[in-house]
Symmetry: C2
Subunit: 346 residues, 2 copies
Amino acid sequence: MTTQRALRAISIVCFALIFGGAATAQAADALPSWEDGKAKESIIAFVANVTQEGSSDFVPPNERIAVFDNDGTLWAERPMYFQVLFALDRVKALAPHHPEWEDKEPFASLLKGDVKGAMADGMKSVVEIIMATHAGMTTAEFETIVSDWIATAKHPTTKRPFTEMVYQPMLELLAYLRENGFKTFIVSGGGIEFMRPWSEKVYGVPPEQVIGSSIKVKFEMHGGKPVLVRLPELDFYDDKEGKPVAIHQQIGRRPIAAFGNSDGDLQMLQWTTAGQGPRFALYVHHTDGEREWAYDRNASMGRLDKGLEEAKAKDWTVVDMKQDWKVVYPSTTTSSTRAQDGFTKK
Amino acid sequence: MTTQRALRAISIVCFALIFGGAATAQAADALPSWEDGKAKESIIAFVANVTQEGSSDFVPPNERIAVFDNDGTLWAERPMYFQVLFALDRVKALAPHHPEWEDKEPFASLLKGDVKGAMADGMKSVVEIIMATHAGMTTAEFETIVSDWIATAKHPTTKRPFTEMVYQPMLELLAYLRENGFKTFIVSGGGIEFMRPWSEKVYGVPPEQVIGSSIKVKFEMHGGKPVLVRLPELDFYDDKEGKPVAIHQQIGRRPIAAFGNSDGDLQMLQWTTAGQGPRFALYVHHTDGEREWAYDRNASMGRLDKGLEEAKAKDWTVVDMKQDWKVVYPSTTTSSTRAQDGFTKK
């Protein structure tokens, strides 16, 4: 081998090392938990299309913005939103400091284990519980509370940690998009500070790419040290029409791909697909009552009704969880009997 | 050369190609427009410190968040904030559609060229002018208006395009930090949608890393197509105590480095430096009345008073523009007589 030939070999190998990753990621195996079928094909075709240099549909990496709903899209949302379960646990933990809650609704019912009774006033009850449990401390204190809870709490029926109630196929999809130059964002109706302490570790989505509902915070000096205090006042409700608004205010650029599971995500999918050039919209349809939960048009949480109609009319991708996903949840570190959990497809 | 030796050579060259960039960037020449001195040294020492793997001060790349004020820190702010000049131009452009402005302040005075008279009511006048010129259209329409203006408007005294009134040493600093794994954000009192159309091209800061003041927007369907309409209502004022609040809500992680030029940036610098581990705070001090403008304690815009005291007390870096910067503005594409412009140091 001459030196010239060696240098040529070096260039080729370096090129392969540097750029080979993207090509490999485009192979079908980047989504091993997805069954072959229309949903998987539509994802791969879209990514191939926008990343093909020289093509008229090519989208430069800085414009490859993908937005994901969280509850019901990246992780489960049954028996109720996990953040509500967190809030109920917080009510129990805080009860000793609030003797007045014994006679005060919705806390009194909650502490007797009567969740349905506590929710008698609907949204008003939820807001009271959220404000009592999510405000009145510094942002650093709240981050610790969430981190401790997520590290220890278990799902009421599956007994899994909540961070293992995420959808394995969606984890693969997030990684696949990032390997292809996409910047992935979460745009959730859930609380922004409830997701940020663990979103990077679990989803690979850093705090600055998490958008959600928020309460107001106030800058104060405590003993010469600046803190941000969480106030019992809604700042922004990131659902329905709020999602495109939050995307505009926080990202400032229209996404080219959007992923959701409910009518609460519809405006986000509409806003995303109304842009110029190639666009992608996907609904996760909860069809698997055995491995997960089956619900759509008549659900009280995560209702998918109008969105399903619009998806059909506009030929958006609809994932049939039962048909399209080989597994639902990732294998656990605590359980070696994954196949027996009923989480893998028989 | 044997094949084995060739492979070994390949590995070494690849390693150098992949990792060599960062090492080169750490050389002093990454900041060629900065005079050698305390300010430049403090920047380089901080970056070397947090990027030194194995050191107790090492900060992983995902936590290397740097925040920059815009007006007076990344570009000039005289004779008044450039966004105000934009608003005044918009009043003139819109006047034919608003015959009522002839008798209505602050517009009547403005249209007669009496800026001082127009500002007689202070903040109230400014808000009226901003709302009349920044609201009432879709977000896409406003983006076009800003893009057109920034491409054509000239600074009243230097006659330069406003995008050439940015500070060359700060452009180098932004690039130097990014080459060392930092994520750079703008956190400005200025309007977020006034900066986003050009921040990526001029500063290398993409829209999703721009934070600023904002007005409310509303999701609407216009003829079956979703749009966001800009409303004449303040959403968030990103100044003073607002800056740490916005950093928390939009980044969700405390920066490790903060750069400002006025008392309006003080809380951002306090919040940044109050975190654990190595932190960096820098004030740009406007000391150069010849090449730029000299002002600090008694300025009506960009006042630096309390901040200067705190910087001294806490040993923050203070850039003396006259001493520390070899050049102020980048060389222009339109002018080949840069040295004669008075922008380079004699």
